[in-house]
């Protein structure tokens, strides 16, 4: 019996493939929309006003400065007393120049905050992680040690090449 339905199986397979494709397309477009909305709403970038454990005003200023650039759609940044770490999201078509954007942002920040060791990343992972750190800073459930550990972890992730 199995044999006789071989042909029908193949057609179902084809249909299935087609449906998966359509779903893929639709969900792909949805993804875009979400991101698009996010991109717009981040004109008011997330600010972290806290002095505990470390004052984040440097990070906040840095964020304002970075977001002013046209090719950058979103930014997260955190600072300790010696280090400043920023993760940026780049406008889609400018992603072809990702490496040079990263470099120029880094050198800008280094000029502006010569007292800080600056780290800039375009990586999604760093972006998401920094976002988490910012959230926790906002909720005030972070101490100096925690923050340092987190940033160290991110630094080692950034150093890791494939």
């Amino acid at each position: 019996m199995e044999v006789i339905f071989l042909k029908d199986k193949i057609t179902t397979l084809k249909n299935l493939l087609f449906i998966i494709m359509v779903i893929g397309f639709v969900s792909g477009c949805n993804g875009n929309q979400n991101e698009f909305i996010q991109g717009n709403s981040t004109f008011g970038i997330s600010q972290v006003h806290t002095s505990k454990p470390i004052d984040q005003s440097v990070a906040n200023h840095a964020k304002e400065k970075i977001i002013a650039r046209e090719d950058i759609t979103d930014v997260k940044a955190v600072n300790t007393d010696k280090e400043l770490m920023a993760a940026i999201k780049v406008e889609n078509f400018d992603r072809f120049r990702l490496k040079s954007i990263e470099k120029s942002v880094k050198s800008d920040l280094e000029k502006k905050y010569p007292d800080y060791k600056v780290f800039v990343s375009t990586d999604k992972k760093i972006f998401w992680e920094l976002e988490k750190v910012e959230q926790r800073l906002k909720k005030n459930d972070m101490n100096k040690k925690n923050l340092k550990n987190d940033l160290n972890k991110l630094k080692s992730l950034m150093k890791e090449q494939t």
Binding site: L17, M21, G28, K124, K125, W128, K153, L157, E160, T162
Partner: protein, 159 residues
């Protein structure tokens, strides 16, 4: 090359080939390209989803997520090949299934499964790379030449 071959043909052969060409069913190039675009795009989209999954839930960056993504895609290719689905997908998708890394996986896995009847050493081992071997060869050799030239230019040319 084909020009050279044409020259060696006798008039009778040339005449027949012309006649044959008219009757040959043409490959539906545009349709095939659209199918390849959709299938290939879908596989890459799935790859992106897997990659983001690894980045989000594990300690991988965009750079390092490549390895587990490739591994996962090849694992999926193994299942699809083993259950006899990948060749059916390929008849639809053409290059859309062959060009992504899943196609490379399929090219290694399918002869391995096929030649199991000749034993693990001579069959599976001996035939595993009979399709993918050329990809590795030309990839490695061209990469070698390119990297060599680039290194020499950087070291001595001060590029």
């Amino acid at each position: 090359m084909s020009n050279n071959q044409k020259k060696q043909l006798t008039p009778v052969q040339q005449e027949y080939q012309k006649l044959q060409k008219q009757r040959e069913i043409k490959r539906p190039v545009v349709k095939n390209c659209i199918k390849a675009f959709l299938t290939g795009g879908l596989i890459c989209l799935i790859g992106q989803l897997i990659s983001d999954f690894y980045i989000y839930y594990f300690d991988f960056t965009e750079q390092t997520a490549g390895n587990p993504t490739v591994g996962t895609l090849i694992f999926i290719a193994m299942l699809l090949t083993g259950f006899g689905v990948y060749d059916r997908m390929a008849q639809f998708g053409g290059a859309g299934t062959a060009v992504p890394v899943t196609g490379f996986g399929n090219a290694v896995i399918s002869p391995a499964i096929e030649h199991r009847s000749e034993g693990f050493v001579l069959g599976v081992g001996g035939n595993m790379f009979k399709l993918a071997g050329s990809v590795i060869l030309f990839g490695v050799f061209s990469a070698f030449v390119i990297a060599l030239i680039k290194t020499i230019l950087i070291q001595w040319g001060g590029l």
